[in-house]
Each structure stands twice: as structure tokens, then as C-alpha cells.
Symmetry: D2
Subunit: 283 residues, 4 copies
């Protein structure tokens, strides 16, 4: 028997970069960037596996060095531009590479009011970007964010669903709706989006839609959030949303002689519903 | 050989409670409380272990029920008051119990501006409280918070330290200082603190001190943050701080012909320094 | 503007099932199964999103109930058979569903020698399966395992790789090689594999190959492990491996006047290399 | 107002050490040790905080170096001996230090049968040790382990407990009992224990007792496991056990017309009971 390689790729995960752009003068603020970067390369790497020929392999340690070496010159604006510079660099130095993918997450830090050099962090919310470059053609750029926790105490129902003999779920016209938004979107061909403006617009559209939408299901809310995002940013082509349903279960206090009119809930961990979908422009 | 019981206790960890206090009228805001509660009881429980006599054991499942059953009536203000009600209840219903300890963490949710019923969460920062009650005497109440990430890009040095033959650390007069603050404090005997006011005052004092303090070491900053806390809240007796040193290492870019004047850092995970200490009033 | 749905699906994650099959008679052993199950359905669900029409939606709570309700009858053998029963059930009861996917992980417990009813667990290693069924055609069944930690203290080199001006990694002819194997494979069309026999054979082939293979790179080892798996189980079509490179860095003890001849290493967390590839039969 | 230091200490957490002791000759096995080490120093460090005087501070980076520098000479036997050497070293080089505490966890790797240089890992179970040394007097040595998952399918009851009006838990004479054992013990003054022999004996005693004990409560099992440990190792003074009660809840399948005679369970995450206690020799 002989074995051949199918699809394969390699890279580095979890490259942690903090970049400080120093302000000038005693009262100028510093800018703080805090990123985690993952890299993947694809291409003519079969013989690395089959023939132990390492000559095409750019070491993953070099991917790490590259992130640090390019940061000062190329991490001056949106995540997406830094990702494009990194992916381009990998194509330039690795002849065997035909596709370079760079995934970036930026961890938020808020400057402390009144101080130009101190920051507070701690949120799970990240800005994200995924940049893919090939030998020819434009970069494929996707933007997004993750870790945004949203909860509404009313304005969410779930009823009229399919029932089989194993269905015991009660219908409800008023439940807590809670989720942790992961969103990612691409851009219309030929557009030149301002990535950070787009991300802010999409996030704002999603948050305000979540708040005011009369939800009939998580799916219903997903579509509304996607539609509002497309309306808020005309360069967007389509947006993909992952919305776990972080269930909050009303506690039965009747055995204790107590009422519980949508007041006392258990926040549950597992299992949880997962709703995933893409919303795109029609026509 | 015979074996006897030494110190023992039991309880329930990870009780997840979400309480919604509904506003009245269409434009009234809801109040959202999101807590995780741990309970421990101590007392005359030796024979449960040695003689399989369960008659003194209030089930840990009942501790869970108690948190939910008491929430509407007793979680109307600070965490500390809810903890005191819970601990008191456990002493009341369990004759064998001589000490009841309740630990509470509150997960933050910010109301969305312009909407009275939607909230955004996602921060690792929690308000904390630890309430201990015995059969006689006042409750021992400790307040705190955890998960506050702080980072400053300048104003932190570390030099003049002890060196042995295994010491290779370079002295520095300007490094990144980053930490995740865990703080806990007690109150002067006889004081009647407004717990939430105290927590806000302590947090504000710690954050602003961290920002402006010219740090000579994490220990030095710990003392300054503790001192500022005592000054900011006169009911405080003493404050305990845990300050992990989340190291940021300047990357050597010289091999690549690049300068790195306090710009490009690696954020490291492990190992990390840990500085722990109590700061209390003198005299 | 109008927004339409692209690809979408929904389901339940993290359904935790423990099944005990009781032995008969005082000396008969119990069988313990400990699974985590995830479910996804795809199909004609667009109008759930766009029109708030819930009539096609089998609730995710029902997916949970289904796992528990089918366990006694259908979890009598391999994971894959239970997955097929679940996926078939979802197609049966949901007219809108065109594709049902069930992912299963089984957590290992070893019976204690000499006792028929007690078990020891604690390993991160899981058996895995992914079963996908459509309205017509056979189920697509993939088997695998995850969480297998392997380390070898010698017999691993990495040299002759591509160098650019950012490459500082030294070549080595003897390093520690450590990884956490995630493996998944499919079966030849028309084969009727004994899934548990296949999994044992593949695991054994991978482990012994890892041990004795003279590795020139992680990619080289990946191919050897894949090839050995195909040889060990003739029903296998192709096997996909994910091999993170859990770097162990030799500590420089020279500043302390100590030698370090491949003895003292730092086990690092992040970043880490990732090698992913499929090995399939040729011809 | 003036603020003074109360109790304070500092150190390093998460020092990751892998030590390979090379066998000699082609067929000699290597020995693999994989440790995580935490260090704490206490002493005359107040002025570090109050006066920014760093002269007494041995850097935490040096603690890290010390673990690596001492490994080859001192990690030749039990964890406890390595901990004692480290703690002694810190007292030697730090004049301000009056107490040095070293906590060690060893992660298990099993050699692959038939190969002298490859290992399989992946268990959450660790051997643990905590060594505390002061300027005078013997070291205080505590041994233990953590992460041992045990489950029994029968032989566990819980009934006859205290009931109040919030108690809804049903009594049971046959439930699943599952826990993750954390155990730690000290030794009789003047004893010279073989630490690894003691750990093996205690672990074996605990596991076999868990298996065969007719449990009336987790507390009851805790005492039996502690008593068996003291009997199994005569140098032991007292043993402390932490036994979380990893609840398995029988699923109600009656709504589906199915019986469930102790067969189908939900393994729950949170909340969970916690039973903690010390068992010591009487008289």
C-alpha cells in the first residue's frame, strides 16, 4: 500500500503581540494594541510529509518573528491591513506557498480618563479579522467580532414550533434572551471599506436591533441583526452570525409558596442551543 | 487504629442566579442582577462522617433552593446584605451549624443606552462579597472585586533588587506594568458602611492610583493602591490585594536590523509573578 | 434593501449523557458510557428567520430529550451507531430537515480491577464520531479520537528548512517531540467496518509509529502515522490528523556554569505550531 | 492617615519544567519528569512596599531560573525532596526571607510498552507536594494528589437528612457517586517516609475503599477513604480530602412512555456539592 497526501496546511497559533505607539510630549497619549495572531500556509508541501524534504518549509518560529518584525511598520491602522501585510510577506518569502491565511483577534483596552498612559481591560469581546491571500487576485478580507454578550429581559417569545412525542418544551411569549455574538462579514467586490468604521457601524446596528426587535425566535433575531448590519454598512456583502442561546430557566418557587413572575432565573451552562446563519443582500 | 475527624465543612459551589426586578410602566427600566453563590457550613458534623448519621445534614440541594427562594425578598441592595440573609437562614434551619459562610460574585451588565430592557455584558470583572456568620456576634463581612485588568505603558521601574548567581534579570527604569486586580477588604468594628458606595470608592482609588503612581515595584504599587483605598473609604479596616505580574517582554528585533524602543512586546502567560499583601491602618 | 438567508443551520451543543447498563447477578459488571453530544440540522428553515414562522422548528430542547430517550435502545454498541440512530430520528420527525449531523465524544472510564461497579476516569482523551445523514443515500460516518498526548525524548530532528532574514531558529538533530493528537477518518464506500475495532487499530498504529519513527519534521511524522493507520485498517479511506507542536525549549544553563545536554526543558504554552493534513490511499 | 503592611508574600506561579534523565546504552530507557512549580517567600519585605526599597527582593525571575538550575542535581527522586532543596536554596540566598514555600505538581506520563523513549500522557491526575521551610526547624512536608476522577454505579445512598420547608430533594438508596479527589496529607513528627511509596499506598487505599464502601453520604465515604489511608501508611499524621459531588441526575423518561431503572443520567456541571474534611489518628 502507498499513502499520498490530501489537503494539508501548517502554521502557528497564539502569537501574542502588544504594540505601544508612544505619544510625543508629556501630555500625548500612548496607543495600545493587543493582538493574538494565527497563521496558516498552504501550497506545495506534500513532499515535506512524504519525502522528509524540509526545504520548502518556512519554520513556524519565523511566522512568530514576522509578526513582531512587521508590527511597527504595518500595525498602524485596522487589523485587516496588518493581516494583509503579513499574508503578503509569507507569500513573498515562501515560494512553495500558494495561499496564506492570517487570523487576528484584538483584545480591547480602554484608556483611563485623565491619564494618557494607563488602560483598563478585561472584556471577552474581541475585534476579529481573517485575511487570505493567493499568488494572484485580491486579498479575501473578512472582518468581525466575538465575545459580545447581550441579554434582554423581555421582547422575546418562542411558540408555534414543531412538536413530536419527545417535545416537552412549553411555549412562551416572554422569556429572557441571552447570547454571545460571534459575527463575521465580507465586503462587496471592488469596495474600499474603512474597516474600523464598518465594524463600529455593524456592532451598533446589531446591538440596537437586538434591543428593540420583537423576537419570535433566535433565528428571527439573527435575521434582523444581519439585515440591520447590511443596511448600516453599504460595503458589506453578507454577514454570518453565530448566536448560542444561553438559556435562562424560570425557577419553580411554587413548592415554597412563592410566586415567580419572570423574576428568578437559573443561568445554565450546558447544553445550549446554537443558531448559525448567513444574511446576504438579495438580488 | 481508629480515625477521627479534624476540621471539616461542606456546601455548594456555583449556584447561578439571575434576578430581574421589573420596572413598572412601559418606560421603566428593569434591574438585572447576575450572581454566582458558594455556600459552606461548619459545625457538629463529625458524626455524619464517622457514624453515617445524616440527621444533621441540610442537603446542598437545599442551599441551592434557598438562594433562589430568598432572592426576591433579600437581593434588593448590596451583595453583602443578601449574603447575610442567606447565612442567617442557614444558621436558623440547621441546628448543627455553628458557622455559615456565603461567597458571592456579581457579574456586571450595563444597560443599553436608550433601551430599558437590554444589557451588554462580557467583562471578567466581578463584584465579590464574603459573609460569615456564627451563632453569636456580628456577621463578618468582607467586600471586594476581581478580574480588573490594568495596564500602564510607562511609569513603572524595577531595579536595585537582590542578585545571586542565578539572577539574570536586567534592571529597568521603564517597563509595561500589567495586572489583574483581586481586592478584598473588611470594615472597622461598629461601622455601618454603604457597601456599594465603598466598593465604588475603593475601585476608583485603586484605578487612579495605579495610573499615576511612579511604581518602583509591584509591591510598591500594591501599597499605594491599598493606602489610597483606606483614604477613600473611612469605614475600611484593611485591604488585601493580589496582583499577578502579567509580564510583557520587549522583543529583541536587533537580529533583524530593527530598533525596538519600548514598542513591541510579547504578552506572556506562564510563569507569572504573584504579589500578595494586606495594607491596614496604622496606630 | 432586502436581506435573504444564506447557509444556515441550528442545533444543540453539550448534551451530557451517562448511561449505565446494569450487569445481572451480584458479580456481573456494569457498563458505563459517558458521552457529550452535539446536534445540527439543516434544511428549509429560511422562513423561520425571515418570516418568524416557527412551524418547521424542532426545538433544540427536543434534541436533548431525544438523546436521552434513544440511549437505552440505541447506545448498545459503537458511538457511530448511536449517532446514526439520532440523525435518522431527526430526519424522521422534522419534515423541513434535509441534513442531520450528530457529533459525539465519549469520555473514557476504566473499570477498577476487582470491582464490577467502580471506575476511574480523568483522561482528556476521547473517542469521537461525526455522523451525517440526508434524505437519501447512506450515512456519512467519520470516526476519530482527540486529546491523546504523546511525547518522545529522542528520534526527532528538524533541519534543512527554508530561511529568510527573519529566521533565527537553529537546526536540531535531536529534540523533544510532543503533540496532542486529533485524528478523524472516513471509510471506503461499501465497507461495513467494525468501528471500535477500527478505532483501536488506528490508535495503536499511530502510537507505535510515533514511538519508533525517525522524525525529520512533524509533517513527516504525520504522514507516517497516517500511512500506518491506513495499513492497520483496510476499511479506512483517508485519515486527517491535527498535530499541534507542543514546543519544549532547552534551557540555557551556561550563564550558571551548568551543562544542559538535552536534560532541562521549558514546556511552553503559546504560541505553538499546528500541522494539519489528510493522508489517503493512492491509486 | 498612614498605612502599614499586614501579612504579605510574593513569588512565581506556573514554572513549567520538563526534565529528561537519559538512559545509557541503546536499550536503556529515559526517565521523564514533567512539573509545574509555584514559589512563595515571606519575611522582612514590608519596606519593599512602603519605602520602594528593592534590596531585599530576590526577583521572581530568579525563582524561575532556580527551578531550572537545580533540577538536574535535585530532581532525582520524590517531588518532596526537590521542593525541600528549592525552599532551602531560597532561604540561603535571601536574607530577608523567613519562610519559603514551594508547591509542586507532577503531570503523569506512561512509558509506551516496547519503546524506551516515548510516552503517553493526557490525564488530569497530578502528584502534588507542598514544602515549607523556615530558618530553624524541620521542613513541613505535605504530599498529595489531585484530579483523580472516580465514579461508582451503585453502593451509594443518601437519606435521613435534615429537611426544612425549602428541601425538595428525594431520598435515595442507590445513586451514582462521582467525584474528583483532591487529597493532601502530612507525616508524623520524626518519621522518615518514602514519599512515593506513601503516595502509592494512599492512592490505592482510597481507590479501593471508594469502590467497595457502602456509602451513606459523601462525608461517610470521605471518612472511610481517610481512615483507609491512615491504615495503609503508618507515617501519615492526618489526611485532608476535598470531594466535590459531581451530581448525576436520573432523567425522567416517563413522559415518553419509557422506563428508566437507574440507566440514563445527566452529568451536571454546576452547581455541585463540596465536601471537605480532615481525618486524623485518634489518641
Amino acid at each position: 500500500m502507498s499513502a499520498v497526501m490530501g489537503h494539508n496546511r501548517y502554521g502557528k497559533d497564539g502569537i501574542r503581540l502588544v504594540l505601544v505607539r508612544r505619544g510625543e510630549g508629556p501630555h500625548r497619549s500612548d496607543v495600545l494594541r493587543d493582538l493574538t495572531v494565527d497563521v496558516r500556509l498552504e501550497g506545495a508541501f506534500d513532499r515535506v510529509h512524504t519525502d522528509a524534504d524540509n526545504s520548502p518549509v518556512l519554520p513556524t518560529d519565523t511566522m512568530r518573528s514576522t509578526v513582531y518584525a512587521l508590527a511597527q511598520q504595518h500595525l498602524t491602522g485596522p487589523l485587516e491591513d496588518f493581516g494583509a501585510a503579513l499574508a503578503g510577506r509569507f507569500l513573498d518569502v515562501s515560494p512553495a506557498c500558494t495561499l496564506a491565511e492570517v487570523r487576528l483577534r484584538e483584545h480591547g483596552w480602554a484608556p483611563l480618563v485623565g491619564d494618557a498612559h494607563a488602560f483598563v481591560g478585561g472584556s471577552a469581546e474581541c475585534a476579529t479579522a481573517l485575511v487570505t491571500r493567493r499568488r494572484t487576485g485580491p486579498a479575501d478580507t473578512r472582518s468581525g467580532f466575538s465575545g459580545l454578550l447581550l441579554l434582554k429581559t423581555t421582547g422575546s417569545a418562542f411558540s408555534g414550533f414543531l412538536r413530536d412525542e419527545l417535545t416537552v418544551l412549553a411555549e412562551t411569549d416572554d422569556r429572557i434572551l441571552a447570547t454571545e455574538v460571534t459575527a463575521e462579514w465580507g465586503y462587496l467586490a471592488g469596495s474600499t471599506p474603512a474597516y474600523d468604521v464598518a465594524r463600529s457601524a455593524v456592532r451598533a446596528a446589531m446591538v440596537s436591533t437586538f434591543a428593540v426587535h420583537e423576537s419570535r425566535s433566535v433565528q428571527h433575531t439573527l435575521h434582523a441583526m444581519g439585515e440591520a448590519s447590511l443596511a448600516a454598512c453599504e460595503e458589506l456583502d453578507a454577514v454570518t452570525l453565530q448566536l448560542p442561546n444561553k438559556h435562562h430557566v424560570l425557577v419553580d418557587l411554587a413548592p415554597f409558596g412563592l410566586s415567580n413572575d419572570r423574576a428568578v432565573y437559573v443561568a445554565t451552562d450546558r447544553p445550549f442551543g446554537v443558531i448559525e446563519g448567513e444574511v446576504r443582500r438579495s438580488g
